[in-house]
Each structure stands twice: as structure tokens, then as C-alpha cells.
């Protein structure tokens, strides 16, 4: 078990992805997911700046200035990749052709509202593709620590930060557990790494129901 909660969240989120699925990974924790996908995962990565078929990070000697991901980091492209313009890329996202978006968030509410782009009172000058992704992707997985750096719960009854989209989250993975939004209901479906329901309740202000499916050894 990794001592880094972010790596543990990424590892668990990676298990949500199925062979053949087209997946867009946001900045932060989602960007750690490729480390936990085996070479035969069959997962196909999409980056909204115009590439389907993102490969591993390049070696330093192999950097291509024309080949970056949406975090503006160097990447490679796998055989069978395709490049396209930004309108085509977002047509994929907005038209429901990207199977999964995995992204970080500031808050997720009991009904799946996501706030991940703006903090009131701070600069609200970057939204990027966040709104497009959470609205367009067929399945939205939020990866985030259970509490903020100041210890505030992030799975909340109602978002206090500006929304990215209403009712958009399908799965929330924290270092403690997995929540699923099913029929508008927030369900705790899995405890991670020895966490208890009480542990989750202590850092969650959203009401949720406990419907544990199985236990994973972390």
C-alpha cells in the first residue's frame, strides 16, 4: 500500500476503467492513473487538446515540442493514435463519445454536483475543458482527498464553491472510500485501506447510504 493517499486514490480509480474505454484524465490525481494501468489495460487515453491514444511520458531525449497533453506536459502517442482539432476533440467529449472523465474536485455534493474550477474570492480565470468534460463524458469519476488541505470535508450536502456542473458525478474515490451516485442517491459502496464507516462519516457532510458491495485489500 502506497503511503501517499493521492497515489492510493489513483490506484483505486484505475480499477474503475475497463478495456476498450476511452478515458480523459484531468490534472492532479487523475494524472497518476497511468502508473496503475497495466500495459494490457486496453484503456485508450484522450487528451482534449487533440489526441486519442496518449502514450507514456517520453524520455528526456525524446521530447517533441508539438506533442503535449492538456496539462501542457510532454507525452507520446501510441500506434493507432489520431490527432484532431479542438472543436473535433470537444465534439467527442460533448457528444458523449468519451466513456469516462476522471477529474479532481474541490467539492462534490450529495446529488453529484461538482465544483472544481473556481474558489470564491480567488481568481476565476481558468475553466479549461472541465465543464465540457463533466457534462459530456458518459461516466464521471471524481478523485480527491476526503478533506481539503485545511481539513474541510469535500463530500458535502451542497457545494459552496461555484459549480462546474450539476448532478454530473457518477463515482467519487477518496483515500477512505468509494461513493457512487445511483438514482440521485449517494451510496458508500466500498471502504478502502481499513477505513470504517465512522471514519467516512467524520469527514463527510453529505448524507449517504451505506451499501457496501465488497471489500478490497488495498
Amino acid at each position: 500500500m502506497s503511503p501517499d493517499p493521492k497515489a492510493r486514490i489513483a490506484a483505486r480509480a484505475a480499477q474503475e476503467l475497463r478495456p476498450g474505454e476511452v478515458v480523459n484524465l484531468g490534472i492532479g490525481i487523475p494524472n497518476l492513473i497511468p502508473e496503475f494501468l497495466g500495459p494490457d489495460s486496453g484503456v485508450v487515453l484522450h487528451t482534449e487538446n487533440g489526441l486519442l491514444g496518449v502514450g507514456p511520458r517520453p524520455d528526456d531525449g525524446d521530447l517533441d515540442p508539438d506533442l503535449i497533453d492538456a496539462a501542457k506536459q510532454p507525452i507520446t502517442a501510441l500506434p493507432g493514435a489520431a490527432y484532431f482539432d479542438s472543436a473535433s476533440s470537444f465534439a467527442m467529449i460533448r457528444g458523449g463519445h468519451v466513456d469516462v472523465a476522471v477529474l479532481g474536485a474541490l467539492e462534490v455534493s450529495a446529488v453529484g454536483d461538482i465544483a472544481n474550477w473556481a474558489v470564491p474570492g480567488k481568481d476565476v480565470l481558468g475553466v479549461g475543458g472541465a465543464m465540457d468534460l463533466v457534462v459530456g463524458a458518459r461516466r464521471v469519476i471524481v478523485t480527491m482527498t476526503a478533506t481539503s488541505s485545511r481539513g474541510q470535508p469535500k463530500v458535502v450536502a451542497e457545494c459552496t464553491y461555484p459549480l462546474t456542473a450539476a448532478g454530473a458525478a457518477d463515482v467519487v474515490v477518496t483515500e477512505l472510500c468509494v461513493f457512487r451516485l445511483v438514482d440521485g442517491e449517494l451510496r458508500l459502496t466500498e471502504l478502502l485501506d481499513g477505513a470504517t464507516v465512522d471514519d467516512v462519516t467524520a469527514v463527510t457532510t453529505a448524507p449517504f447510504v451505506v451499501t457496501l458491495e465488497e471489500s478490497h485489500v488495498g
Binding site: G80, F84, F90, R94, D99
Partner: protein, 218 residues
Amino acid sequence: MTATLTTAAEAVSAIRSGDTVMVGGFGLVGAPLSLIDALVDHSDATDLTIVSNNIGEPGRGLGKLLRQGRIRRGISSYFTSNPEAVAAVNAGEIEATLVPQGTFAEAIRAGGAGIGGFFTPVGAGTQLAEGKEERVIDGVRHVLEGPIHADVALVYAARADTLGNLWYRRTARNFNPLMATAASLTIAEAGEILDVGELEPESVVTPHLYVDHLVAAA
């Protein structure tokens, strides 16, 4: 997802009576003739709504399906290229929805791109805009057009790779790349099926996430 390789007969078995089916091609150029033949010979789905620029030619392409009486409605810009389609409309055997060709193309793109509707000046003040919402934008009359979706799209590409990436040759491209994006299930017929990596990533027109089934042209 990535595409599965199959036969034309197997692929078209996904088409159900009452479905809306998009069929690529401008006249017979770029039309998925093997898939159409399979639909004619190996499927008994009927009561179909066909979205295609033309309804084939007499006894050729979609003209065969028309003769079988399996088309309930056509959405096209030019029925006139098949006099039998015109006769069927006039006899009340099929319902015709005539759309300006640019609006037809744009509406299919919108269907694939998650656009809820768009305003265009084309058709405003004409018989083809009757009953449609109008709005003056910057002093110009516009018509509101909705997206066109389908249950299944049948498209033709000169080349595919085994993932389902598609490349089109010359004017056989036409509506095919648009239709590939706008259906719940997309079946592509390819003249040549190449190994992964043989298509230049910049030259892929339809990335494989749009293609569900891939069939070799007969």
C-alpha cells in the same frame, strides 16, 4: 471504444424494425454498398427511417431497400436522384423530410457533437422553413434547426486500421465522417483493413472511438 471486426451480415443484425439508420455516400459514391446489401439480404428489419443524402438509385444501393418496402421515412436533401423514391413518396408509401444539404450535414454533425440546436439563415422564408422557429440575428432571418441522431450509422471508408480508425478517399468522404459520429452504433465498411500504426495519425479522419463494428467491403 475500439471496433470489433465482424461480417456485414452479423453487423447489420443490430438493426431493428423502426430504427433510424444513417447511410453515408453522395449518390452511390462513398456509399457502404456491402452493408446495404447485407441489410437487403440478411435482415428483415422494416419500418426504417433512412437518413441519407439520396435514397440510392433505382435498384441500386438504398434503392434495393426501397423496393423491398422497408423504408417508412426518408430524411434527405435530394430524393429526386431515385425516381422510384419520388414515386413512393407521391404514392404515400414513404414519408419524406427534405432538408437543405448544408443543414442536413450540419444537423448530423450537431447530432454527433452534442449540440442541442443551431440557428442558420439557410431556408429562412422558404417552404422548407415552415413550422420552424425563426429569429432575427444581426438583422438576418435565421431558422432553428435541431440535431439529427440515428440508432445505427452505416459508413464507407477506403481504409481502416483494426482499431477502427478511418481514412476516406477523394470525394467518397462526403457524409461518412459526420454520420460515424451521430449514431448510437456505427458500422464501418472498409475497402482495406490495415494493421494498427499503418495510418498516419494526422491523416485519420474518423478516430476509432466512433466505430463500433468494422467490416471488410465485399
